[in-house]
Symmetry: C2
Subunit: 351 residues, 2 copies
DNA sequence: CTGAAAGCGCTTACAG
DNA sequence: CTGAAAGCGCTTACAG
């Protein structure tokens, strides 16, 4: 690996200070003027000084950070990341944030001390402050399904959420639906915002006014789906179809429907989002917008590892295609003569 | 953390050789007699010498090794391990073996180089050779749901599999079943063997001859359940109930039953094993033997971390209780007058 | 705040 | 095969 690494002596020489002074800066000791400290830190940074004790780049560890592992969405992503890390000979450290903000100085310092070759972040709580901290780590960071708009200093991997929202809506419109409800997870997250935009675009394109009453957002788990689904079903003019922000949330809609004696798909069509295993277990099997979750995580992990090995900067933003997987939860709306003159526009059997 | 760690000089002194000689042994250099090398290695070992470059104990990393992450069983275990590691301030490295043997010299050397504070092993393929290698690591190892009999040099955490098999069987017997089929995963694994023993004990206790034709084993995934379930349902005298080695396998039995027009639970009762999320998604909801998977992994992880921090040797074997969770897939056998005079003997709502 | 000096743990030639 | 000697990268205690 070329040179044996910069030494503290070289840094001292370059900074015009003594070796002990650099040592003090390195160890956060007192007794160094702010100006000197800053100058030395800059040099340390520039020359890529690697603390001998600390296993810097080359630890072989990639950090996979996700809000929680409690959903099938999360485990699908984890599987992809783990498989790719293994394939490329890296070890994957799995951390959950449990709602805590990401990129706190503590955590970044912990990563620096332990040694991390890169970070795959699947989190909604990335603080703006956290971004700056993370950049200080000097290891590649790739975001999966990132939140917040604003320019990212990091590369991102996502799905074509807008197209997914549009395709789900068109699938229902082609079946003959006109009153289509749309429920999503937290609307602050770009993926949900994008899908909603896709829905609205499809509705407009077919000259259907998107009744704002038919759009709800909240929790994307089963509970949220049950509550938001109930709200829609209890409207004076309920929708004949509901598109949901996740498969789990869609199952909550199933529950709300069952509680009201509404049959799926005879009285109500339901479309999920993600295509996790759940879709095939529940009855009727759930039509959904497939996100290639494992592939997204694989791609992000590959980017991080290749960058950590000196690869060139990849596409700053990668979007993998979604596709509608038609199963048994969607059908023409009640009262339709023929079962929707138009054929279902895409049928894919699950992998 | 007491002393600053053994130095090469101390080892040299103890071995009656010079510092450079110890250094050579440490770095695998030539020019050391076999006898000296051996003596030094032993001292290094005994005194717990920690190579400065290598982040030995204290890396804060715990390795979680599992055959694959593709089942809900696996992710339930992972969740428990991850949560406990986070709680105790350790980072969890997740590795899948994908059927490869565990404890190969390569892998052990990799762990040594990278630094690992301990290993939680959830694997069926632990080689006997691997055990010796793993012991050389000098970090705590705890097995979850271990395979093979023979005395383990490592602590183990498991569920009360024997009682689980017995309880599932008794539950069905109390409902009035007499012909009860039993299908399991690979019978080499002690957990499956133990459950089968529990089944046979219960059958004997109720003076029911366990027809060997009613016992099958193979793959514990959906496919396996479908195939093994089909074999039982196609018998001249098919069982009125089937106990399965996993919930996924039980779902395979659902498929086999559906393909033959056999209704669950009217014509056939089905009991699963594990109590993963799947049980609640499928229809009818699956009665199952609950294994506290997350708790098992938590316990194993806690043991490893505490041992790595100097805790005392824990119980060599820990078994957490299973319990029958009664849902909709079990009922009295067809042709029964009253719906089983005996009440279902345990009802637990899922967490 | 700063650095000359001593020291620590280890490695690298190299002489025997 | 073995180790005295020199050296390396860093830290520590202390004088200015």
């Amino acid at each position: 690996m070329g040179s044996r690494g910069v030494t503290i002596a070289e840094i001292a020489e370059a900074a015009g200070v003594s070796v002990p002074t650099v040592s003090k800066v390195l160890n956060g000791r007192k007794g160094v003027s702010a100006a000197t400290r800053r100058a030395v830190e800059r040099l340390l940074d520039e020359r890529g000084y690697e603390r001998r004790g600390r296993p810097g780049p080359g630890s072989g560890l990639i950090d996979f950070v996700i809000s929680s592992l409690d959903t099938q969405w999360a485990t699908a992503l984890l599987r992809g990341a783990q498989a790719e890390a293994a394939r490329l000979g890296a070890d994957l450290v799995v951390t959950t944030t449990q709602g805590r903000p990401v990129g706190t100085p503590d955590w970044v310092e912990h990563l620096a001390e332990r040694g991390s070759d890169g970070v795959v972040l699947v989190v909604s709580e990335l603080l703006d402050a956290g971004r700056a901290e993370l950049e200080r780590l000097h290891v590649p960071v790739v975001l999966v399904d990132p939140v917040g708009s604003g320019s990212q200093p990091f590369a991102t991997v996502a799905a074509t959420d807008w197209a997914g929202g549009r395709d789900a809506t068109e699938h229902l419109i082609r079946l003959g639906h006109r009153r289509i409800g749309f429920i999503t997870g937290p609307i602050e997250q770009v993926c949900h915002r994008d899908r909603l935009d896709g829905y609205q675009a499809a509705m407009r394109r077919f000259d259907l006014s998107a009744d704002p009453d038919l759009v709800r957002h909240g929790n994307s788990l089963v509970d949220g789906g049950r509550r938001l689904g109930a709200e829609l079903l209890d409207l004076a003019q309920p929708p004949t179809a509901i598109i949901s922000g996740s498969d789990e949330q869609a199952y909550g809609v199933y529950q709300a429907a069952r509680e009201r004696g509404v049959r799926i798909p005879e009285d109500l069509s339901v479309v999920g989002f993600d295509d996790v295993e759940l879709c095939q277990w529940i009855s009727p099997q759930l039509t959904t917008v497939r996100q290639p979750l494992a592939a997204m995580a694989r791609e992000a992990t590959r980017m991080v590892i290749e960058l950590s090995r000196g690869g060139v900067r990849p596409t700053p933003r990668l979007e993998l295609a979604t596709s509608v997987v038609t199963r048994a939860s969607t059908a023409p709306p009640p009262g339709t003569r023929r079962p929707g003159g138009t054929a279902r526009h895409e049928t894919r059997s699950p992998a």
